[in-house]
């Protein structure tokens, strides 16, 4: 292979280092108006009256819209029915602090802001509910009329009662994780513009242009062909830019005023209005033999999805499916509840429920190893999934199961680390911890197709058109590599135009670590189609069969006859001279089955990525402060299309995993966010990251993936957090089960130690 697997510079890096990459807030149109959103200051109330008359009279105000002004459906929801439960503008009720009520477009942002203060809203406050456990009770206030249980996902395999009865050891634990914030560096922004036909174009950051198109069309009551979404350069997403943010609001205002309308969130607004990572309460029970063989796992998972569903039911489903961890467990019972409360909306965030359950299943494995006096990595190896294993959903794993290889590599590294027991402060204690995970690629048993168009042009250069989203993960570069590889061209001759619903059909969102696998497969088909057209003509000209032809160094060659070759460009010219265009289109949807509702049995993913991470920490035994000294990632990605990109994802994942372990907690009290800025919600800085950080790519090729690739985005961060928590325990014997493990929490756990 000449491009795939090579360390390729990102195709979008030049414009980004020159400051020329245009993010949504960098765009400006003639006569553009500025929008602001009036948001609810109360967590749960009936809206009795909205009076915008004074705001409308303010000089420079061009439109003030409320729920009544929405021409189409006033509901959005990324999972579709029955979870389209979020109003674009609150109609009867507001359900969280931040729920939008009215939108204003004005000549300047300042005027729009002033206008917000002139809108009078009369609220009839209702009794809110903030605790998901309380919300599950029959007598709790109802956030939605249908009740507070958004979804329950059950997994049933074998017989857990019998499994526990046969177990020599039973380990129990309860683990609590907090709300977390994506904290992408770019706050949400976009511009809407309407043309003379009433067609709408939305330029905005998003991870999911096709979803924006569908939602805007529904909300405006337009046909899909009248809405075009052009994704602007997107400054990170991590799941938080999958849902609708500015998009419907700017489209409504542009449609109303006939002028381009820009909306840019402030940072506190971004934190208030975007979805959060679901806080989980995980009650976990593990049964094993005295040899450390897992016999049964029972888990109850409660996830607070906040005021609206967003991705909640899907997050809890994925959490349930992955609750055993990457281990073979014959008897499994999992109940995972997504519960409505009057807290901020929770949705997708890197890890999508697996982050939270991995903290639980990995702590359980550590406790089990300790109880049995076994090595924590060896006990994981003894139980790890393998080719031929069945998962908790009954899926037979037939290929590409790299968990053992990642564990073995981690084992070797950990034994080398163990020799280093120096300390930087006298009260410092060092520890090493391990975390392992598995992660299904693509949506859980639901269709999520990607599509691509490809044009192989006269000069041999290639244009790839797609609605898939580059959000910083490196997708455009990976797509360029796949096209160049399949068509034997130089990567410099490939142009990828992505994120534009006006030039390409529907594409799944950049989520579920699935874009390389799914969009990569779609592109491969498109490239092969264009190549076949070329080969057919060359085969006819050379009087050979198309299957006897192959590509080598930008030439089409005949097997077994090295003399006979024609350059790709010559072949294209020949096709063109006959009026034959070398085009391709492809779409791909993973071949999965939905989960059976009562037992959760099924094949929810085609393939899984696996990973083991290691952490070495020094904990100050007097203060509880932890310092991360070393991090190492061992990730089975199938095949690294661009190793430098995979490393970059892994290193970024380590930092997010570290943040989640030690510092990240979005505090919400009675529905109000207490940490609405980046000075209060802390994410890792360069000083928090250890100098000693290594990433190892394991390649257990996936036969159905493009060149064997699976995925890496979320597996990059999931195992880091449990590895760090495990290292803290190894250092000082303090097990933190309520995250994050701040100095205070470690200190408290130290005081609770039995010795």
């Amino acid at each position: 292979m000449h491009v795939v697997g090579k360390r390729i510079e990102r195709v979008d890096a030049l414009k980004k280092v020159m400051g020329k990459a245009l993010f949504a807030d960098d765009l400006r149109f003639e006569g553009m108006l500025y929008a602001k959103v009036l948001r609810s200051p109360v967590s749960y109330a009936k809206i009795k009256k909205v009076d915008a008359s004074l705001a409308k009279e303010l000089k420079g105000v061009r439109a003030v819209l409320t729920a009544r002004d929405i021409p189409g459906e006033n509901r959005i929801g990324i999972l579709g029915d029955p979870f389209r439960d979020q109003p674009v503008l609150a109609d009867e009720k507001v359900r969280y602090i931040g729920d939008p009520i009215a939108i204003v477009a004005a000549d300047s942002a300042k005027i729009a802001e002033e206008a917000l203060n002139l809108i009078k809203v009369e609220y009839g406050e209702l009794r809110p509910v903030f605790d998901p456990v309380e919300a599950m009770r029959q007598d709790a206030p109802r956030v939605h009329e249908k009740g507070n249980l958004a979804s329950l996902r059950k997994i049933r395999r074998g017989d857990v009662k019998e499994g526990f009865a046969r177990s020599d050891v039973i380990i129990e634990g309860t683990y609590k994780t907090p709300f977390q914030e994506h904290a992408y560096l770019e706050p949400e922004a976009g511009i809407g513009k309407v043309d003379e036909n009433g067609d709408i174009t939305v330029w905005a950051c998003t991870q999911f242009p096709s979803n924006v198109k569908k939602e805007v069309a529904k909300v405006l009551g337009l046909s899909l062909s009248k809405v075009r979404v052009i994704q602007t350069v997107t400054g990170g997403g991590f799941g938080g830019k999958l849902d609708i943010s500015v998009h419907c609001h700017i489209a409504l205002l542009a449609s109303k005023t006939g002028k381009p309308v820009k909306l840019v969130y402030t940072r506190p607004e971004s934190i208030m209005a975007s979805t959060k990572r679901h806080p989980f309460i995980v009650k976990y029970k593990t049964g094993a033999t005295k040899d450390g063989k897992l016999l049964a796992v029972e888990a109850e998972i409660i996830g607070d999805t906040g005021a609206y569903a967003s991705y909640g039911p899907a997050v809890l489903t994925r959490a349930a499916v992955h609750a055993t961890g990457p281990y073979s467990v014959p008897n499994v019972k999992v109940d995972a509840y997504a519960v409505y409360t009057n807290n901020s909306i929770c949705g997708a965030m890197r890890g999508f429920g697996v982050t939270q359950v991995a903290i639980a299943h990995e702590a359980q494995m550590d406790k089990l190893a300790e109880r049995l006096g076994m090595d924590p990595i060896e006990i994981r190896l003894n139980n790890a999934l393998d080719v031929g294993s069945r998962t908790a959903t009954g899926q037979l794993l037939s290929h590409s199961v790299g968990i053992k290889e990642t564990l073995q590599q981690a084992h070797k590294a950990a034994s080398e680390w163990k020799q280093d027991i120096s300390r930087t402060v006298p009260t410092g204690r060092r520890g090493i911890g391990v975390g392992a995970m598995w992660y299904g690629i693509g949506n859980t048993g639901h269709p999520n197709p990607a599509s691509v168009f490809l044009d192989l042009q006269d000069d041999g250069s290639i244009t790839v058109l797609s609605a898939c989203a580059e959000i910083g993960q490196g997708l455009d570069t990976v797509l360029a590599q796949i096209a160049a590889e399949e068509l034997g061209t130089n990567i410099k001759d490939v142009k990828v135009i992505s994120g534009d619903t006006g030039v390409a059909p529907e594409c799944r969102g950049s989520s579920a670590s699935g874009q390389t696998y799914i969009a990569g497969n779609a592109l491969r088909q498109a490239a092969i189609q264009a190549r076949e057209t070329l080969f057919q003509q060359v085969a006819a000209d050379l009087k050979v069969k198309p299957e006897d032809l192959y590509l080598d160094n930008q030439a089409i060659c005949v097997s077994g006859d090295s003399e006979r070759r024609i350059s790709v460009v010559e072949a294209i010219k020949r096709c063109r001279s006959l009026g034959i265009l070398t085009l391709g289109s492809g779409w791909s949807n993973p071949d999965t089955t939905p989960l059976e509702p009562e037992t959760g049995q099924g094949n929810p993913y085609v393939t899984y990525s696996f990973a083991t991470h290691l952490a070495q920490v020094e904990v100050d035994a007097e203060t509880g402060e932890s310092r991360i000294l070393k991090l190492a990632a061992f990730n089975d990605v199938g095949k690294a299309i661009n190793p430098i990109g995979v490393e970059a994802q892994l290193e970024g994942g380590l930092s997010m995993g570290l943040g989640q372990a030690l510092m990240e907690e979005l505090l919400i009290e009675k529905g109000a966010i207490k940490t609405p800025t980046l000075a209060q919600y802390l994410i890792p800085t360069s000083l928090d990251m250890p100098e000693d950080m290594s990433v190892s790519i394991v390649e257990e090729a996936e036969p159905s993936g493009p060149f064997g690739a699976k995925g890496v985005g979320e597996p990059a961060s999931i195992p880091t957090t449990p590895a760090i928590l495990s290292a803290i325990y190894d250092a000082v014997g303090a097990r933190v089960t309520k995250l994050p493990a701040t100095s205070e929490r470690v200190f408290q756990a130290l005081r609770r130690r039995p010795y």
Binding site: K16, Y184, T677, I683
Partner: protein, 156 residues
Amino acid sequence: MGKIRIRFRVNGQDAELAVDPMATLLEVLRRQLGLTGTKKGCDAGDCGACTVIMDGKAILSCLTPAMQAAGREIITVEGLSCNGELHPLQKAFIECGAVQCGFCTPGMLLSAKALLDQNPNPTREEVRMAISGNLCRCTGYKKVIDAVMLASERIG
């Protein structure tokens, strides 16, 4: 409040313009001068995306009143390359894979440039310190530090 005329140099060129006395340097750069390479990530001095160089020092343009730029020399990301030639830092960021979403990149580049202008041969710890005010959610900072070290080798 009336606008006040100020003069300063931006990326080697004189700029003279009337600014709102309440405006930040960030707003003036982005809106009045069209230099949108400088990013607004928080508007509160927490994230570092708005970092520019003023008289040789890396500063947060979202916390700096535009008036304070009067008579000063400002460098933004648009002024890093010279006669079409990329700055060694820009080249190194591309080669090392230090760019992902790219939103923190301009500020990161300018913090690094301010460091290398003062200290052409920094240690990795000094680089780590110099970029500690620039948040990045994508990279984990390792490739950024690699890139600054590579640029420093090439400049030195």
